[in-house]
Structures are given as C-alpha cells and as structure tokens.
Amino acid sequence: MPLLEVRHMTHYFGGLRAVHDFNFSIEKGDIRGLIGPNGAGKSTIFNLITGIYRPTEGDVLLHGQSIVGLHPHQIAAKGLGRTFQNLRLWRHMTVLEHVKMARYSKLTYGLVGAFFDTRKRRREEAEAEEVARHLLDLLGVYNVAHELVTNLPYGMQRRVEMARALAIEPQILFLDEPTAGMNPEELAEMMDIIRQVHEQFGLAIFLIEHRMKFVMELCERIQTLVFGEVIAEGTPEEIQNNPKVIEAYLGEEVAF
C-alpha cells in the first residue's frame, strides 16, 4: 500500500476545470517533482491534497484511508507538512514561536493547562521547545531563535518555514517552490537542506519547482502538469526529452 495515493482527482473552480484526473502515489523515502508552466494548477493540487480545497471528484488516501473532507489542521496532524509558495509566516512571532506553534497538535494540556500554568503544561511546553530548538539547529537558524521573522533575510525565512513544517513530524513534506526568489548560493543551500532532511527523517517529499536544474537533480520521478492535466510522467531524463514537455515550455517546434 503506498503511503499516499491520489486517485482520479478532479477539481472545478465554478466552471473552470483546474485539475483533471490527477493520479499520484508516493512511498516512504521517495522524492517526487511536479513541474509545469504558470497557472497549470500545481499549487491547486497541493491545496487539494492538504485539505484547503475539497476535490470535486476523486479520492486522497493516506495509508489506504481517505482524508478527503477533513480540516486542513487534521490532515496536517496526520503527517502532511507543507511550505508555501509565498512564505506564509506570522509576522509578529519569533522564529522559535513559529516552530513551537507547529507542535500544536502534540500538546495535550488543554485550556486548563493554558489558564493555570500547570506542571503538565510546563513539561509539554519545554518538550516542544526542545524539539523546536533541535530543528532550528538543524536548519541553521538557531542563533536567531528570538528574532521576529520579518527581521530575517529571505533565505533564512525559507529555512524557518521548513523548520516549522518539520515540527509537525510529517511523513510527507509538500514543498511549494522552495527556491522561489533565491539566488544561486541560497539555492544550493536549500538543495542541501532538502537532501539532509530527506535522509535524516526518511521523509517522502513532493515538490513543485520551476528551476529545472533543481528538480532534475533531486527528484526520482517527475510529473508535468499543463492546464490541470498530467501530460508526461517519468524519470528526469525521460521528462527532459519528452517532446510534449518541451512544447509546453518552449512552444511548438517549427520545422526549418
């Protein structure tokens, strides 16, 4: 049984068909890529799987169980961590608070603990902080733990977001354009980070990317999406040489 399986997923925004008959499955330890031109529906697929939208048709199965219709926070708590294309960080919170917040579903002290500062709460908060600090260390943002995220350079903000996604203890990590807006140096660092967390946590990773070099180097299998439909699927080499993909990106080849 695959870790996560998407079957015949179709989604309409009103009359617009954003995703059509999308099929996908991923195993523990896989790195999969999703590429495609702007507006192809890549982010929509992420949002459908993580519960922000509910697919019009089709099913999403985690360990063989359907997760369609659950709230995003429930799906996240089941181990689907994600980052966002346009960095959705909380601007009035510190780096440490960000990562601690992602431990929300692991806290059991409840409102009584929150109101009365019980021993259980102190213990659980301390545990959450330890996990958070460990992740900050791993991603090299430990020394800015008490900074507000808005004071950090862009590359660091990306790392904070990654640390936050890892704090929910994901089984699958969804990365929505993790290198958007990065310079080549930051890009290389991000690639190392992804490799590192992949090895260390044995994660399945599903990523959307625009930079071909990045995708080709990281992913074992790639799907190409155009206008909501998968037009090609295969290894990086296969995708690179697929005429349909070339056409989608560069336009039709004209005979001389």
Partner: protein, 454 residues
C-alpha cells in the same frame, strides 16, 4: 558635544536623550524599590497630607493629584479652562512635596537595600516573590485610597476597567478581530450577577424577599460572578460562530449588532426594570474583592496568551491558512478567544454592577464601547502591560478632566488621535508580560552566577 552637532539631531532625539539621562539613576531600582517608595508616599500623605493642604490654603487634600482642582469649567475669561494660578501653584507644590520628591528620593536612596532584599526573596522562590510584591502593591493602594472615598471609587472602577481592557485585548489585539460587542458581554454579566444577588440576598420589588441570609452573600458572590461570566460567554457564541466564516469589517458590524441586540433585550425585559434599570445590588464589590479578581484575571489571561495554545491566536491573526496547515485548530482557537474574552467581560460587568449598585441598559452602549476601545488601542495591542497602562491612564484622564464636562470628550479623542499618529499600535504593544522578570532585582551585581547581559 558642541552646539553644532546637537542642532543637527531632531527635537525628539533631544527629548529622548534628556529622558534617558534623567531615568538612568533609576534604572537599577527594582520593583520592590518603587513599591516601598509608594508606601512611603502613601504614609506621608496619610499623616501630613491634610496639614500641608491646609497650609497651602486648599480646602481639602487633592484627591487625584489635584487634577480636579487645576481644571474648572471652561469659560471665555482668562485662564480659560484652568483655575486661578495661586491654586494651581499650591497644587503643584503639594504634588512635589508629597508625591514626586519623596517618591523618587526614596526609590533612589533605598536601591541598594531593596535590590538586596528582592534578591533574597527572589532566590527563595519566584512565586513567593511575586505574591510578596502583589501584597505590597495592595497595601500601598489601600493606604492611598483610604484617604478619600472618591479616590477609592475611582481606583475600584479602574481595576474593573483593567479586566475589561485585557479581555477585549484578547479578541482585538491577540486575535486581531475588531470585535465591538464587549459592552454587550458586560451587560449580560452585569444583569445575571445582579439578578442572582438581588434575588437571593435582598428584599426587592422585583424578586420578593431575601431567600438566603445576607451574611452568606460574600461567599456566594464569586459564584454569582462566575455565573455572570459563563452566561456572557455563552452569549458570545452569537459572535464567535460567524467569525468562522467572516472577518474584518463584517465581523465588526455583526458584533456591533450583537451589542445593540443585548441593549434592546434588556430594555424590553420588564422583569429587570426595562429601560429604568435595576438597582439595589448589595454592596459586595469592595476594594479587596475587586483587587483579587483583577490579580486573578491578569494572571490567567497572561498565562493563556503566553502558552502555545494562546499564541495560536496570533497565528490565526497573522495568517490563518498557515495556522491551519501547521495543525492549529483555527475554529477552536477563535471560539476560545471569544468565549474567554466574553467571560472576563461578563465578570467585570458583574463587579461593575456591584460597585455602582445600579445598572441600566443605556450604560452598556456606544459610549462604553468607545471607552473600552480607547483603553485597548491607547495602551497597546497584544500586550498585557499595555492593557493595564491603557485602562489606568484613560480612566484617570477621564476623571482628571471631569471638570471640563462635555469638553472632556474633545480632549481625550485628541490625545487618542495623537497616539494613533505616533504609535499606531498603542503605547506598549506586542510586549510579553512576565511577573518573574519584573520582580527580579535590577542591580545585577546582586545576582550570583552573574548572567548579567542586559
């Protein structure tokens, strides 16, 4: 520094530097030092206040630092809104001799001693240290307020305002929803609590004879207050449930509607006097009772907003989608914020009803709303300390400007506008409030291990 270089820096910078220079000798005064200085001042006024006031030719001792004496009803004659210069001079001298000079002098002179003392207590246990400071604060306030009944009333109302402001800050500041329903929650709490105590402990026209001996009242009063808070909390569902689907202006309008619904509801409820209001509450909200509730309120609210569960409010405010994707149960979080805020507002309403011992639906309307919003936004969003400062300053300002009558409502808004221009989120916004940090000795030489970095 030459005059040339000072000219190049702005006026605010000069002001800031002067302030810093003046404040620097007091940097090392611990909280304990300020409290002891307060105690000395309060005792000084208790023993010598009357005499000094008589010497200065004032007919009685100035109740609120003489602000009521300085201002008078505005007129077109010089000095317009101020009293005669002689009287003002007398008040200023009184303030200097009784308050300012002894206060700062004692704080400065005792700082070695108070640092040592607060370190001794702090070393033993943070808890004992915090409780000790609160007890001392209570004693200072008690002595100070015992001198005049007016002063005591103002202090009691201010402490209630602190609870209300904090509870509104949970919703408007920490969760960032512009809720305008707070007077409604207060009204619900006030009426429920009043009906409870009036029906049980007094002979009234509405509810018949007393059912329980009046001596039980102080013990059952907390239950009445909790009940008032709980009912207010349930009524908050009316606002909390729409908040799942809407935000911003729309929620503000829904909550405003809620406030007017509550007002009309009580206006049409003959059982509790309709628009005439409900009076005759037993005198249960004494100074110590309100002080304890205020301390409890600050403690619980501060605990909540500092926990990860409470920080979830900030996450929902700053980016709800991201909060959801990071396992935060956003609905539960919003629900908690509204119900929790409404609970404390209801409880404060119950206390208020028993201070004034008369309530009517009209007093929980727009003017009340303007007042509580002003306190929250003046003091600072997302900040417990800000709420305390906001509630105290707006309340005292309101009392101080009372002689101006209607013109008070010109002066206060102007001050608010100025704050909004220069500090859009309020005086002390986005700051954590940590009692353990406050009660620490400030002179770092006192602390062993020497982790003195700040």
């Amino acid at each position: 520094m030459t005059s040339k270089s000072t000219a190049s820096i702005s006026k605010t910078e000069i002001f800031r530097r002067t302030f810093r220079r003046l404040a620097s000798p007091f940097k090392q005064v611990p909280a304990l030092g300020w409290l002891i200085a307060g105690l000395v001042v309060a005792l000084l006024e208790l023993f010598f206040g009357e005499i000094l006031a008589n010497l200065m030719g004032l007919d009685k001792l100035p109740a609120l630092f003489g602000s009521l004496i300085i201002f008078r009803k505005p007129s077109l004659e010089f000095p317009f809104i101020f009293n005669d210069l002689g009287v003002i001079g007398a008040v200023i001298i009184y303030d200097l001799l009784i308050y300012a000079i002894p206060f700062f002098l004692v704080a400065w002179l005792t700082k070695g001693l108070t640092n040592k003392l607060s370190w001794i207590i702090y070393k033993r246990s943070t808890w004992i240290s915090v409780l000790f400071h609160i007890a001392l604060l209570y004693i200072v306030l008690r002595i100070w307020t015992d001198i005049s009944t007016y002063r005591e009333l103002v202090t009691r109302l201010t402490m209630i305002a602190v609870i209300v402001t904090l509870s509104l800050n949970v919703i408007n500041g920490y969760m960032g929803e512009f809720s305008t329903s707070h007077p409604g929650f207060m009204a619900v709490g006030a009426y429920v609590t009043s009906v409870f105590t009036i029906a049980l402990f007094t002979n009234s026209n509405y509810f018949g004879d007393a059912k329980l001996p009046a001596s039980w009242a102080p013990f059952l009063f907390p239950i009445a207050l909790l009940l008032g808070g709980a009912v207010a909390s349930v009524s908050a569902l009316v606002v909390a449930i729409p908040s799942f689907r809407t935000r911003g202006d729309y929620l503000a309008i829904i909550s405003l509607a809620f406030m007017f619904i509550v007002k009309s509801f009580f206006e049409n409820l003959e059982v509790v006097g309709g628009p005439r209001g409900l009076g005759g509450q037993p005198d249960l909200a004494s100074f110590p009772v309100i002080f304890v509730w205020m301390a409890l309120g600050i403690w619980i609210i501060n605990n909540f907003v500092r926990s990860t569960l409470g920080k979830a409010l900030n996450a929902v405010r700053d980016d709800e989608l991201a909060a959801d994707a990071m396992t935060v149960n956003t609905r539960k979080t919003k629900m908690t914020a509204f119900l929790f805020g409404a609970f404390w507002a209801g409880l404060a309403g119950g206390l208020l009803a028993h201070v004034l011992r008369y309530i009517n639906p009209g007093s929980f309307a727009l003017q009340k709303l303007a007042e509580v919003l002003a306190m929250v936004y003046f003091g600072g969003l997302n900040s417990v300390l800000g709420s305390i400062v906001g509630a105290v300053s707006i309340n005292l300002l309101g009392e101080a400007l009372r002689p101006l009558e209607l013109y008070k409502w010109i002066v206060i808004p102007v001050i608010l506008i100025l704050v909004m221009i220069y500090r859009p989120t309020g005086l002390i916004a986005f700051r954590e409030f940590d009692m353990a940090e406050i009660v620490k000795p400030k002179d770092m030489r006192m602390m062993e291990g020497d982790d003195a970095t700040s």
